[in-house]
């Protein structure tokens, strides 16, 4: 079982996200995270799905998705040669007693402060999912997370590889 990032190009149509995600559900595959957006070609959307499975399972779900009429392309993101990023917004309980240590931690993770309110600070962090996990772990250990939201991974391959129709 390994974490796999799949990048799909699909027609930018009504319902295409439902079709793809419902296929994962139907075939018993878990979606760990999912991001979707239109691309530089407005007729296409890119869907990045993080899933977990062995090689055969990943092959099966990829082959199933290739049968969708609105499928235009897929590839498995090679973790050694790709840029995988996600964004985290996290609201942490804060007062004068912990503010400076929170800021120290933020510096280590290159987290930006985007809001300071009565009793809380909101940080924004971008990075690999593992970095986000680690930041959250540290926050959970020593501080109180009031609310958080992470986007899920989105990814591109480095260099020449380009996914086209």
């Amino acid at each position: 079982m390994k974490k796999t990032y799949l990048s799909f190009l699909v027609d930018n149509h009504h319902g295409v996200l439902t079709r793809l995600s419902s296929l994962f559900d139907q075939r018993g595959f878990n979606i760990d995270s999912l991001t979707v957006s239109t691309t530089n070609d407005e007729s296409l959307s890119r869907i990045t799905i993080a899933t977990t499975g062995n090689e055969d399972e990943i092959k099966q779900i990829v082959n199933q998705t290739r049968k969708l009429e609105e499928y235009e392309g897929v590839f498995e993101i090679n973790p050694y040669d790709s840029l995988i990023r996600e964004l985290l917004l996290v609201k942490v309980a804060s007062d004068a007693s912990n503010r400076s240590s929170l800021l120290d931690l933020a510096t280590i993770y290159k987290a930006k402060i985007i809001d300071i309110s009565e009793g809380s600070i909101v940080f924004e962090v971008t990075g690999k999912p593992a970095k986000i996990d680690s930041y959250i772990n540290n926050l959970t250990k020593d501080y109180c997370i009031l609310e958080m939201c992470r986007t899920g991974a989105t990814a591109l391959q480095r260099g020449e590889v380009r996914m086209e129709k």
């Binding site: 009504h14 319902g15 439902t18 079709r19 419902s22 099966q60 082959n63 290739r66 969708l68 009429e69």
Partner: protein, 552 residues
């Protein structure tokens, strides 16, 4: 020329040489039915008792003729009543275009009267589905629907048309008939590699499934079987591709398959699998299936490769195309030693006769005898279906229609009606059981209204036989809800519908009834009273192997 949406729909049907539509009218499709009225000399619409019957009729029509079946229903309950029929077609890869009306565009999403999100409901049971949001897209969406339904692995496509679209007017330009995407397998090396493995095999077997029917590849299966003297076995979906009495044909594989077929596959050194998806009714224990063999898998659907059973070699494409090229590379051969071994695997399952009572095998034998080689058989689901698969004299692939993948009880009557309409046969034999028959016997009114010679042969054991059989074997004879105490008088009900009715309990009575029904030329019901304890044998329990075959 300017036409409204309903006329455009009819025009695209005509472009695609559709002359038969099954359906049921309703509020959201009134405009479409008005157009059908106008074009009634070109397209014949058959109204069934229930939309489910119409969906099975379109399916039966498609399976029996090879054309795309078309079904039409109104919004809401009309659309949801198609769901079982669409799922049945999806599981068995049957080309179908389902057209549903919907409430007008301004009413969509407001929980309007008879509104349902049918594209959402049917997403996992269609190859693709569409909502028409703009009249300008209507013709092309319908054309695409036909193209998708027949291309690659066939299947159902649904087009949902809001009522205002059926009335809106736009320019229509005729286009030629949609054709399936063509396949041309050009990996010569792979073909040579596979051919060499088959040519060098000592204990080869060919195992083929329903896709062979869809791609008309039966001729090449036969050629390879004969030329290289290779035994063959098949799934239920492929019954009739090879003649039942061809010596190399070992018959059905799997749960209720023949002993010889199961043992042969188990001991083979090479298995050439053609257009089968290794369902759990065939490869009951996928990890142990044909374990000693080099597995070669030919399929048009890439996602079937290694889905259930892993293959050592695979060729992706149209079975007819690939087999026609492979056949040339297969050498003439003899496998006498292998056949000698295979013959030692043969084991007849004893079945009772001669006690004056009517037994399932006798029913199938008499039907086969009276129907002759052109007999077109449609089944429902359960014990009778297995007996029909095992015992009927299958000689033509398109003559056995059955719900294999979904196992839809109630499939048979509608499908038989569609098959009769599609083929114009002088008889269609609908083989059913008392459980399945009660699900959709209302379609008798359709058969009677249109004077269709569909003969329903109902094996009545006053039980849900297959459920009961499992309860006998695996549940300590605790017959939970499998013995409904029904008092249905089949003869009276048949007559009430305007059909002929017969009831019989001996082989002689059954023969006489079937002969009379065939002479009458109209719809008929024949009740065959059989014993509750009759079982479908042999049987391999789910997850089992040849070591678990039950003979009694």
């Amino acid at each position: 020329m300017k036409l409204n949406g309903s006329e455009i729909l009819v025009q695209v049907l005509l472009e695609n040489e559709v002359d038969t539509v099954f359906g049921y009218p309703g509020g959201a499709v009134l405009n479409i039915y008005d157009a059908l009225y106008k074009y009634q000399d070109k397209i014949k619409h058959y109204i069934t008792a229930h939309e489910q019957g119409a969906s099975h009729a379109a399916d039966g029509y498609a399976r029996a003729t090879g054309k795309t079946g078309v079904v039409l229903a109104t919004s809401g309950p009309g659309a949801t009543n198609l769901v079982t029929g669409i799922a049945t077609a999806y599981m068995d890869s049957v080309p179908m275009v389902a057209i549903t009306g919907n409430v007008g565009t301004p009413l969509i999403g407001r929980d309007s009267f008879q509104e349902v999100y049918i594209t959402g409901i049917t997403m996992p049971i269609t190859k693709h589905n569409f909502v028409v949001r703009d009249i300008k897209d209507l013709a092309d969406i319908l054309r695409k629907a036909f193209k998708i339904a027949i291309s690659g692995r066939p299947g159902p496509v649904l087009v949902d048309i809001p009522k205002d679209i059926t009335a809106a007017v736009t320019e229509y330009e005729p286009q030629p008939k949609q054709t399936a995407v063509k396949y041309n397998f050009d990996k010569v090396k792979n073909l040579e590699e596979v051919a060499e493995i088959i040519n060098n095999a000592k204990k080869p077997v060919i195992f083929f499934g329903g896709g062979v029917k869809n791609s008309c590849a039966g001729e090449y299966i036969k050629k390879i079987v004969t030329k290289a003297n290779i035994p063959a076995t098949h799934t239920m979906m492929a019954a009739g591709v090879l003649r039942y009495d061809m010596p190399e044909n070992l018959g059905l594989l799997g749960m209720h398959g023949s002993v010889v077929a199961n043992k042969t596959v188990n001991d083979a050194d090479v298995v050439l699998t053609v257009a089968s998806r290794f369902s759990d009714r065939v490869a009951l224990a996928p990890d142990k299936f044909a374990k000693k063999a080099t597995m070669i898998h030919i399929d048009i659907d890439m996602s079937e490769i290694d889905k259930n059973v892993k293959s050592d070699y695979h060729l992706i494409g149209d079975a007819e195309d690939i087999l026609s090229k492979l056949e040339v590379l297969i050498k003439e051969n003899r496998h006498d030693d292998w056949f000698e071994t295979i013959n030692s695997y043969r084991r007849d399952i004893p079945y009772s006769t001669g006690d004056g009572k009517l037994h399932p095998k006798q029913v199938m034998d008499i039907i086969s005898e009276l129907a002759g080689e052109d007999g077109l058989y449609v089944t429902d689901v359960g014990q009778h279906q297995m007996w029909a698969a095992q015992y009927l004299h299958h000689v033509k692939a398109e003559n056995f229609l059955t719900s294999g993948g979904l196992g839809t009880m109630g499939y048979g009557y509608g499908a038989a009606i569609g098959a009769q309409i599609g083929t114009g046969r002088s008889h269609v034999f609908h083989i059913t059981g008392d459980g399945s028959f009660h699900m959709n016997m209302n379609e008798a009114c359709t058969a009677v209204s249109y004077g269709l010679p569909v003969i329903s042969i109902c094996l009545n054991n006053r039980a849900l036989g297959m459920v009961r059989q499992w309860q006998t074997v695996f549940y300590g004879k605790r017959y939970s809800s499998s013995e409904p105490d029904r008092k249905t008088d089949y003869v009276k009900v048949a007559e009430g519908f305007g059909a002929k009715g017969y009831s019989c309990g001996t082989p002689e009575e059954f023969r006489a009834a079937l002969e009379d029904a065939m002479k009458s030329g109209g719809p008929a019901w024949i009740e065959c009273n059989i014993d509750r304890e009759e079982r479908v044998l042999p049987m391999i329990p789910g997850g089992g192997t040849v070591d678990d075959i039950m003979y009694e």
